[in-house]
Symmetry: C2
Amino acid sequence: MNTLSTDLRAIKTRAAIQSHFIDLLLEKNFNEITVKDIARAANIGRGTFYLHYTDKFDLLGKLMDEGLKSATDNFQPKAYFKEGKVLPERLVGYALKMFDHFQEHERFYRAMLFNEGISSFRYRMQQSYLKKFRHEIQELSQANRMSDPITMEILPIFISSGMIGLVGWWFKNNMRISKEYMARKVFQVMTKGPLQVLGFAIDEEGEDELRKK
Amino acid sequence: MNTLSTDLRAIKTRAAIQSHFIDLLLEKNFNEITVKDIARAANIGRGTFYLHYTDKFDLLGKLMDEGLKSATDNFQPKAYFKEGKVLPERLVGYALKMFDHFQEHERFYRAMLFNEGISSFRYRMQQSYLKKFRHEIQELSQANRMSDPITMEILPIFISSGMIGLVGWWFKNNMRISKEYMARKVFQVMTKGPLQVLGFAIDEEGEDELRKK
DNA sequence: AAAATTGATGAACACTGTGTTCATTAGTTA
DNA sequence: TAACTAATGAACACAGTGTTCATCAATTTT
């Protein structure tokens, strides 16, 4: 396993390995994929694989890292708030950009999100987004009256987890729903909460009683 | 692999395998756990393992199924709404019951949620909760004016994903936050949305403009 | 363009874990 | 007590792993 060789041959080999590995992930369980399979698919000798990666877990891990890095780099935090107020159009635009990204890297996300044998991608993806959102929210709320620290911890978790669930569903439905619709729903959930979006009203008396405790 | 033998010896063996397997999961990566390891930990012969499970994936899968079934069976849908209105105290109670369950089965959830090598537990857990929530919400909204079908699909996804993210965080923090606090936050997010809970206001002009499009 | 460097090849190797078989032992049920 | 059946442990063939090495071939460098 070499440390990033820039030799043309090495670059081509790594590209072939990665691309065919994703193909394999799309068609069968990661557990059932052998280094032999990968080498055969990429048209290289099995030994050559070990010149670049220590094992298939190493390959998978590096793919994940690259993919997640490219994702978070891509979403530059536009100012979607102003004087403590969320700007709906900006927030929708931000969500839209995320869906653009997912669509562009469809093969990667399908492989990573749906392969039965893949460990921890959803978790790593969530951690990656969580970090991003937490950072943004902290910056945004600096100028304003803030919520308690635990709330500041918890809410970004809800947002990042929810987004990943949503994207998974969107792919499962072959992206039939427009990105615009999805982005707008994300906005609604963020600002009103799932139950109100679903059309439920909240009993005010009950809420008052809760507050007393 | 037998079909549920009720022989005392068989029951004891299965219990030993399952319990020690969870121990192993708590201390090392699933990928690195061999059948030999499991057999040694459970004090049985390696061949005996194969009398009960076809391989370690089979064991893992069965553990997951049992655990997830016991979870959803546990949350009996109390009527946390009335005439289209959500009853806060009831909803908080429902969330509280979920946290009770997670605490009770801490070892199981820690093993399943945090083992690096475990594939798809989070996904299966989400699917399991999704099914449950979708069903409940559909029943609840039968009598009332409903949202469009896509919204009915999407929102439960947000809820189930968010809950799982939250529980993971709660465990990571060694359950330092009280279940009561967690349940109340869940209620707030459900009814107000993450951004309002965080203290952000929504710009109304921008919202109006969005609606026009 | 020639020389030096480095990647790729394929065969060979020891090793680890897998899943199965089978005769024997020992615990459980009727 | 007798009949049953789970557990044992050793043996087996097999598949995949990760490494080595001499040789060939592509690429940089001079």
